[in-house]
């Protein structure tokens, strides 16, 4: 409590040991990252989920390295059920499915991460701008969102698959381009609601510019749905 004793505007009137009235009321300020970490640490299910994710991630890279088979190695045993040599069985040309599953896990994980980040950023920015600025901007962006929703992904995927084949980054970017629309709609709706509230008016009265209001005051309020969306891929 040394910082309280040093306060110049607090006259110390008692000679005897002062009763610390602020005991238990002092809040040690913690950074946002620190608060998040502390909440995460106390949340048993979150820790469990984190550990499972970590184990899976490590095994996606370790298991193919330890496996006696290569992911594209063709063995004489084809179309086999699970056995000791092939715990997941083999496919129709005799490749070991265990090593193929874990190898595929690497790509799934990378693509999922990339898609989650890209859709979230693209969707949140377009949705927030559309909802906040309103008017012609909103009409235009809303119809752009509709455009991406109405062109069937299946047709786009067919054409792109023929033209560019399959490379993981390409797939992730393409999926992001096809999937950003729902979070954009959600963020737009929430921004429409928040931009009329008093704290935004207060921020504007205090002289904050549009970008600052969006970034500091409105976007943090849309984190709930954004996180739900980003974690569902």
């Amino acid at each position: 409590m040394t910082e309280l004793k040093g306060r110049a505007d607090t006259p110390v009137e008692f000679e005897e040991a002062p009763i610390d009235e602020t005991e238990g009321l002092v809040i040690v300020s913690r950074s946002f990252g620190r608060q998040t970490w502390d909440r995460f640490r106390r949340h048993k299910l979150a820790i469990l989920a984190g550990v499972v994710l970590l184990i899976l991630t490590i095994s996606f890279w370790v298991a193919p390295a330890l496996s006696p088979y290569d992911f594209d190695e063709i063995t004489p045993e084809f179309n086999q059920g699970p056995s000791l040599e092939h715990p997941f069985g083999t496919d129709d040309i005799g490749r070991d499915l265990l090593v193929r599953t874990f190898k595929a896990g690497q790509f799934s994980l990378l693509i999922a991460l990339l898609v989650a980040v890209l859709t979230t950023v693209l969707g949140a920015v377009i949705g927030a701008v559309s909802g906040y600025f309103g008017g012609a901007t909103d009409s235009f962006l809303s119809q752009v969102i509709n455009l991406f929703l109405v062109v069937p992904s299946f047709i786009v995927l067919l054409v792109v698959a023929v033209k560019w084949g399959s490379n993981p980054t390409g797939i992730a970017v393409l999926l992001a381009l096809l999937l950003w629309t729902s979070i954009a709609r959600v963020v737009r709706g929430v921004v429409l609601q928040y931009k009329e509230q008093e704290f935004v008016l207060a921020a504007r009265a205090a002289g904050a510019g549009s970008l600052r209001i969006l970034w500091r005051h409105i976007i943090p309020n849309t984190f709930g749905p954004i996180i739900v969306n980003a974690t569902s891929w």
Partner: protein, 319 residues
């Protein structure tokens, strides 16, 4: 709000033009209807030329598009060559009806369950029931639709018959002979759709509800002595529904567009399967007809969601 609605409806016209043009080009460059004849032993040069004439393959794609467009504007959607040359409009409306029979009950269940589960687990955050609901949501989000559909078929039809000697539900197809048949053929696909879609929606509801119940005006409402029920249902729910209304519109349009996997597993004659089949059959007029229909549904329901925002929260104004 009326001005806004009119503006949105008017800006939909250029949107539909751009969208249909894009789809037309994508379908035209990705396949050639003449390739269908490659496998046909008895077809001669004349069949080849008939297809060329029908699809105007000697003309550039934009010219063909305007040909299609002027026919559609005149009310002629063309014929579905892959389904015995029935008019596209008849096929699409018939299939849309079948899809609606499945989509509407599923949507009502989804919407209701999402609110109940989302609110319940938000109000009792970190309780056992919240963990159970959260656990099942993640199960629903992570489980592939086809797997769940097949599991339901195995448990409720195949195994059920072994255990109890009766077959409670139809495994496949749409049966409309009696109301009982209809319900029986609907049950499994509707349950599949509901569980898969409600998982994500209840997460949105929970997140949004948590945001609202931790805000100042909810504390004020509680402080002035209102019952928990009143606070949650009169004050919090309405303010937390906006994300869910957005998702409802998107999901309803998705359900009405036909869920390909569920329709395939349950052999349901719906729009989703029709679209995929028409793409593989290179039936251009049918692809265009189905996508136009789905596009209009997407646009209409997103507009309804935008109007509902204003009803839920009158502070939201577009003008």
């Amino acid at each position: 709000m009326l001005g806004y609605t009119i503006r949105r409806v008017l800006t939909t016209i250029p949107l539909l033009l751009v969208a249909t043009f894009l789809i037309f080009v994508l379908v035209s460059v990705s396949n050639d209807p003449r390739s269908r004849l490659a496998a046909c032993g008895t077809c001669d040069e004349s069949a080849f030329r008939r297809l060329e004439e029908l699809y105007e393959l000697d003309k550039p794609i934009p010219v063909r598009y305007f040909g299609w467009l002027s026919d559609v504007v005149a009310g002629d959607w063309g014929v579905a060559l892959s389904i015995n040359s029935i008019p596209v409009k008849d096929v699409v409306l018939e299939r849309a009806k079948n899809t609606a029979i499945m989509a509407i009950p599923a949507f009502i269940l989804i919407a209701g369950l999402a609110v109940v589960l989302g609110v319940y687990s938000a109000v009792r955050q970190y309780s056992t029931s919240d963990y159970v609901i959260t656990g099942f949501s993640f199960l629903g989000i992570s489980m592939p639709t086809f797997f769940f559909a097949l599991l339901l078929q195995a448990v409720f039809v195949v195994w059920w018959q072994e255990w109890f000697g009766l077959k409670p539900f139809y495994v496949s197809g749409l049966h409309t002979e009696s109301f009982g048949d209809l319900v029986s053929s609907l049950t499994l696909p509707v349950v599949t759709l509901t569980l898969v879609v409600v998982a994500g929606e209840s997460r949105f509801m929970r997140a949004s509800m948590l945001e609202v119940i931790n805000s100042d005006y909810i504390r004020t409402a509680k402080a002035k002595g209102l019952s928990e029920r009143t606070v949650i249902f009169r004050h919090a729910l309405r303010n937390s529904l906006i994300p869910l209304v957005t998702i409802w519109a998107l999901d309803f349009a998705f359900l009405m567009g036909g869920s390909v996997i569920t329709e395939t597993v349950f052999a349901w004659p719906g729009l989703g399967v029709l679209l995929v089949n028409s793409i593989f059959a290179q039936d251009l007029d049918l692809v265009m007809g189905v996508t136009m229909f789905i596009a209009v549904i997407v646009i209409v329901f997103n507009l309804i969601a935008d109007i509902l925002y204003g009803v839920l929260d009158p502070r939201i104004r577009y003008d």
